[in-house]
Every structure is written in C-alpha cells, then in structure tokens.
Symmetry: D2
Subunit: 269 residues, 4 copies
C-alpha cells in the first residue's frame, strides 16, 4: 500500500488535550473571545486588541438578515420537507453562493489590488483605483462591495462598523483604497455607487490582516448562526410541507428594545 502520511498546520490532539496553532485549547477557553480563536485558526496568530474588536464586530454584523434571504428560505424549505437541523442548515449553507454572501471576498480582491498597485505612503491610490476599475471592466466583471439592492441609501451597519474602526484607530491604506474605488466608480459610471456593507467589511478585514480566501468562511460561520435559528423555528413551530412565501412574511417576536435600557440583564458597555 502507498504511503499516505500528511500534515496539517492547524491543530492536533494528544491524550492530554487539543492544540490550536500551538496553543492549548484549554488556555483559550474562558480567556480568549470566540471570534479571536477563529482569527487564530484562520491566520495562525492571535489578534491584537483592535483586530479582536473588529473581527467580533464584523461577525455580529453578519449574524442574520431576516427571514427572506435565499439561504434562510432554502433551510426552511428543507426543514419543511422533513430534514433535520443539520441537513436543513446545510441546504442554507449551500445557498450562500456567488450572488449571496460572496460579495465581501470580491470587494477584498479589488481593494487589495488598488492598495497593492499604489506605492505605500504615496498619493497614487486614485490612479490605482482608476486602473482597477478599468481592469475589472475589461474582464467583464463588476466590482462588488459598492451599491446595495435593499438598503437604498446607506446601510446603517456600515456607519457603525466605520465608527468602531475609528474608535480603534484604524484608518489605513485599505480604507483609503476603498474610498478611492468609490470615487473612481462614480467618475467612470457617472453616477454614485456608494460603498456598501460588503465593501466596508472588506476594507476592515484587509486592515486587520484577515486572509482574503477565508472571508467567506468568516461570513459562513456567522450567518450559520442565523440560518440555524430559522431552521429550528421551522422544525419546532411550523407545519410540515407548508408553501413558504418569500415575501409575504412578518414578525411576531419581542417589541423594539435597547441594550441601553436598565431593564436588560447585561451591562454591555
């Protein structure tokens, strides 16, 4: 028989424990936030505090987008046919395809290319952005991360993420490159195509040294949380084999409330 030995750089187990990128998992448990351990697994390094706060913010911002997204509808449809929780969630995960959830990675590629073309510390970002717009158009591709179909004007999550980035002192080349891309697109298309939540997340993930190829993974982990909540509600509360209308649905949960009211159990800030 052929020899098949292979190695992973991610993790291993012993009789005594589980080791993640060299750290004993037990040291991480109770000490390091979950999104920071994700960052460790995906990059090989524990995040700096500003990176830890931003990765957590991006994960929270991606956790759910209501009951009408294709991934939730697919998961609910599978559950409605009798799929268990995991298989229903898998149907939802498979729906996170190139049109649904992959925009952050596309935007990271374009923003990274702009920053990469411009010599660091120079004012060449505008020229680089114009060139990238041209390159993408010549290849017949649109630059994702700019414009949004539902939140017409400006996704409110974008302002929040940018405010957190400022609080953490993050204002580097990738955020600048994203702004230059927005301007270059405006000039080329002769109409504004403002940066959207995907473009904003893309710039922030680049600022915190998150690998482009794993941005979809980050999104999938986060959004699986919401998909699983919807799949479980479908299994637990809804009639099997019902026809699931993708538009005609409402909300019957708790009233609007705020974490800043003192009647909430957790003191968050």
């Amino acid at each position: 028989l052929e020899k098949l030995h292979w190695d992973t750089a991610l993790s291993y187990t012993t009789e005594d424990g589980i080791y993640i990128r060299g750290y004993d998992l037990n040291e991480l448990v109770g000490s390091v936030p979950f999104p920071s351990v994700l960052y460790l697994l995906y990059t090989g390094t524990l995040p700096q505090p500003y990176q830890a706060r931003l990765i957590e913010a991006v994960m929270v911002a991606s956790i759910d987008h209501g009951a009408g997204t294709p991934s939730v509808l697919a998961a609910r449809t599978a559950a409605s046919g009798g799929a268990g929780l995991g298989p229903a969630a898998a149907a939802g995960l498979l729906t996170l395809g190139k049109y649904h959830g992959a925009a952050v990675q596309g935007a990271m590629e374009a923003i990274y290319r702009v920053a990469d073309l411009a010599a660091p510390g120079t004012s060449q970002l505008a020229d680089a952005a114009a060139q990238v717009v041209k390159e993408w158009r010549n290849a017949g591709k649109r630059i994702s991360g700019f414009g949004h179909r539902q939140h017409k004007d400006r996704d409110p999550r974008l302002d929040r993420l940018m405010a957190i980035a400022r609080e953490e002192g993050v204002h580097g080349q990738y955020l600048n490159a994203a702004n230059e891309l927005e301007s270059a697109l405006h000039r080329t298309l002769n109409r504004p195509l403002p940066i959207n939540i995907d473009g904003g997340m893309a710039a922030i993930l680049l600022e915190i040294d998150f690998p482009i190829g794993l941005s979809n993974a980050l999104f999938m982990v986060s959004r699986m949380t919401g998909i699983l909540a919807h799949a479980y509600e479908e299994i637990d509360q809804m009639t099997p084999m019902r026809r699931i209308d993708p538009l005609d649905h409402g909300y019957c949960g708790p009233e609007p409330r705020s974490i800043h009211k003192h009647d909430e159990g957790m003191d968050h800030d």
Copy 2:
C-alpha cells in the same frame, strides 16, 4: 392563489436596519460579544454576564478537534474532489450526525430529566438519577455524556469548563444532577463511567438556560469554524484527488506556545 402569510419571532429588516429579537443589530455590533448574540437569537434574551462567559467558553471549547474527525475528513475529501469552500464545509456539517457531535443534546435530555423528576431543593436527585438510568436502559438507549473514546481518563477541557463555572458562581441543580447520574451509572454498571466533556457542557448549558433543542446548533456554529479552516487548507495547500489517510497524519504548524507569555500580541486576562 392561497394566502401564505407567515411570521417569524426571530428577526426582520427595514429600510433602516436589521432587528434581532427586537434589538437593532447596530446596537449589538461592537457592544455585545458574538456568542451572546447567538444566545439572544436562540433564546430571545440577552445573557446575564455569567451566561455570556459560559456560552463563550463552550463555543471556544468546541471550535476544533484536530484533523482526524469524521467531519473534517469528509470536508477535506469533498474539497479534494474539487468542491468549493461552502460545499466542502456542507459535507463536513452533514457528517455531524448522531454519533458525532450530538452527544451534548443527548446528555442534556438525561440530565434535564433527572432534575425535573426531583422536587427542587430536595435531596431526591440520587433517586431521580437511578430512575433515569433505568428508564434509558429499558428504552434500549445509552446515556450520552459519560465516558470518552480518546481522552481515556478525563478530558482536560472538562476541568477547565468546570473551573469557569465555579468562577462564575454556577453550581445549580443541573451540575448536581449530572454528578448523580455519574454515580447512578457507576452503581448500575459496576464500573466508573465518568462524566465527559459532552456531559459537562450539557450540564453547563442547562445551568445557563440554553434550550436543549438548539445545543446541536451551538455546536455546529462553533465546529464549522474548524471545519472551514481544514477545508480551506485542503483547497489551498493539498493535491487534488489525494487519498486522505484518517490516521497517518501529523502537525506542521507553530510550536507549542502560551497566551501568558509576554511575546504574544494580545493581553487576554
């Protein structure tokens, strides 16, 4: 056409934002930890601080278990055939079945039954545990959460989780019920079958009022993080169509290290 209106209690979107169980997602972003937002989605309530710390600890403890688990092997095998990141992870997710990952839920059911049978505040837990062992045996089921195939003696994660529970002042009926189950199993089987990591997580999740039906969802979100890391490494680093040995694999990542050393970037405690 039939009317198909339906309602969800989880979340909704407006032109202005996304609302999770009544909270504006923007308020949560940057303020509330990711595992606490998961807790909110799954229970309808933001966790108390002790609940927030324990849910995060359980999620970190579940994030990965090395390259030899069935879910990782299935994800790597799919990636090796040419599946993209999401489909490969879906193959891994589908592998988290009744023998792999579902033990926490099984243990929660047994522990909950013990606590439910005993009148609160009484010393009837031992009798209840004996009865539950009998009920499960009569139904031809084993009680999951006790014993472990790899970590023969005592899974080190268990001690860590229990220490955190003590730090947070958690020592309620479910932890007691789990101990009584361990004793009842020992008496019945005439050999020790010590509580394992699944049983420990089960007791802790019950202590923090986490719904039994969603414990697998919690595990899936956490473990998807690891599965996606392995799927990406397979796609990015490995030869397509290789034969993946389930045992003959090693580790080529960073050397053993500690978060307590001062050369690490993050000051965690």
Copy 3:
C-alpha cells in the same frame, strides 16, 4: 498505526475493469437497462424480466413532480444564490426528508408487517391488517401510503402502475396486504383513505423483492433527475437572487403531446 482494512460487498476495480456484484460492468453496458443495474447494486441479483419492468416503471413514475415541490424550490433557491449545479441539487436532495419522499418506505414497513403476521396462503391478511393499524396507532404513528393531498381522488399513476403489475402477472401477498390495510383503515377511521401512489409503489417494490431500507435510495436517484433539470433551468435561464414564489408559477414548455402520435421520433412499443 491501527489496522483499518475493510471490505465491501458491492463493487471493486482492477486495472482491467470495474466489477459490480461480481459482474464486469462492461458486460452490463449496452445489455442491461439502467434500473436493472441499480437493482443489481441494491439487491445483489439481476432482476427477472417482470422485476426489471416494474423497477423501471417505478423509477419513471418518480422522476419529477413539477416545479412546486419543496425539493425543487430548495434547489432553485440555492441556485438563485449562486450555487453550482451539484450543490444546488444537494440542497434539493436534503429536502427529501421524512415528509417529502419517504412515504414509500413507511408504507413498505406497514405492508410488510401485515404480510409477515399472516401465515402464507391463508386468509389471515384482514386480521393482520387490523392488528397493524392498531399497532401503528398505539405507537402514535400514521400509516403512510394512504391518502394524498393534491390528487384528491386517485393518483392516475397508481392505476398505470397497477396495470403494469397485472400485465406482468404480479398479484402476490403484498398487493393483497395493501388492499387489506386500506379496508382496515376505512373501518377504523370510518372514512375512506384510499391507497395512494406511495402505497402502490410500496406494494410493488415488496412484490419484486426490493429491500425496504433502499426504497428511499431508489426514489432519490429518480427524483434527482428532475431536481437537476430544475436547478439547471434556474442557473441557465433565471435572474440570480429572484424571489421564488412557491405557488404562482406556470408552464411555458411544449404543448400537450403523445408518444403514440407518429410525429415522434421513437417507436416505443
């Protein structure tokens, strides 16, 4: 390293060929119908001619059920999010759960139990059917294969399958047991609950010695054909991210036509 050798009874490959249950696949190609090779793989034996005709009839009868089934809607939804053909079809496959597609297996279990309880060649089937109705009701289960939500009166496929069974001289204990179950259900519920297409397929599959545990597999192979056609149409023809209405859809394909008209290319009978 542990020894892991294992054996399969299904198939193997050599430098010279592929062997299915002992037959050189090359001998089967061009000589044996596809459904008969499926039968060989699933039972270990090539079918007799009457078994071959009936397995093929059941597979054709299951190939598609229009655009409004949950499995097709899930596959189209996944495709609409950007999933490729295989992942979209996988989302559809996962939707074939206990409420959608599994009724044949449930019916086989009940019919088999009736035939098994009655001594062969006796007139005890009626008593056995009454007992099985009682057993299922005591266990809180409904007997699947009787009644249908869409085809109110009688699914026309049922008459066709039964006619083919008669043509092939099949009128054994399982068809009789199914009829007795129908009568017993009528008496117990005091209203007719006529055998439906799932119940009819169940009886026929038992008559041709098809294993109960693989009836869902047979259905999945057949229905995957339709699911893949729908997924491909969605990918090839439809707008990405469209909202897919589960009821408000029509048909824009070829006009009604018949295989018996002479303008068709194939001379089938």
Copy 4:
C-alpha cells in the same frame, strides 16, 4: 407585494396528472426507458432509438467506480458520523467536483469547439484540433478526457461504448473531432495521451445531441446510484465512527460471474 409569477419549460401537475415536456407521465411509465425520460427532461425531445441506447449505455457505464472514490469515501464518512441516507449521499454528491466527475463536460467543450471550428464535411478537423490545443494551452487549461490515472492503458469501458456506437451506426463529426484532438495532443506533447472514458463519453454525448451543460447532471444521477449503495452499506453494516481507510479495502461480495451464463435469471440479449 411584488408580483412574482414565473414559468418553467420542464413540467407541471394538474388534478389529473403530471406532464413532462408536454407528455403525460403516465404514458411514459412502462413504455419509455428511464434514461430516455431523463433525455426528454434535459433536452425537450424523446430520443431516437440510437440515442436511447447510447444514453442508457453511458448511464450504466457511470453507475459506480468502487469503494475508493472520493465521493464514496465522503458519503461513507458522513454515514459513519451518523448522517442518514440522504444527507450521507449529499456529502458524496458535493464531492463530485471539478476534479471528480466533471471531466466529461470539459471534454465536451473541447471536442465541440473543434467540430464547430471546422466547416462541416471538410477535412479541416485536424487544423481545428491543433488550434483548440493551442487555445486551451494559452488559457493555461488542460484538455480533459485524455489520459487516465488508474486504467493506465485503455479503459475497457471505452472500447465497449465505442462498439455500441458502431452498432448503432454512429460515426459523426464529434467522434472524428475527438480522434483529431488525440492526434493533436500527441504531436504537441510529443507523447501519447489517448482518449479516455471521459473523452469517449463526451464524444458520444455530443453525437446524440446531449446538452453540454447537463452532462454533469447525467453523471450525477448515475453515480448517485452507487453512492447511495455505499452509504446504505455503511449505515447498515459498519461500525459507527470507524476510521475509513481510503486504500486498504477489499471485496467480499459475489464471485465473478457473467450475464451470459444460463444460471442467471434474466435473458438480456
């Protein structure tokens, strides 16, 4: 609410029946072979007899390839973790990616391009083949369908399929184009890269007017048959959570046998 009406060209149901591309499914049941109904669903037309025989031959030739393929290993691994039959098969289906099962479609694209470049009825195929080899190399792609990793010399299924094509009088431009591609590859690479089973199937599928975009669908339906057989054997016969060696496995099924021996039940030819 937005209007969402949409149309499919594939099929529809009425109170009376199911219609596939305009044909009453009941007419097809018992009269038309399963692979011919697949052809109808995928192309809109019932096949001519030669097309019907060749589509069936291709489907039988693809039904299984032993226990060591990535798709079977993934399905068995998922089953081993506790996945049910459908979810385990879905894990296998997801493994049929670009390196595993997609070669036929790639070969069809190249062969079609050769035939398309050459004026019909001329002897320009050799030039066209040389050009296509150059185009593919310039684009950094290899032409699939030529060479095979396991069956070093010549896959025996290829000869069988070609013999059936000859029996059916099929010897058109696509088979010629495939031969010319083989010659052009030999000249360019200076070593023989003989057409393999994928290339042969590709040429045959083009000869019978099968749509390129649905060749993977054809393969998936066929191979799902084998994947489901393996998943069921794993669920039914094997120990849960076993480590599945991808190489060290054997065969414990029926002895070698032939359909031409008179002890077999079915008279096939």
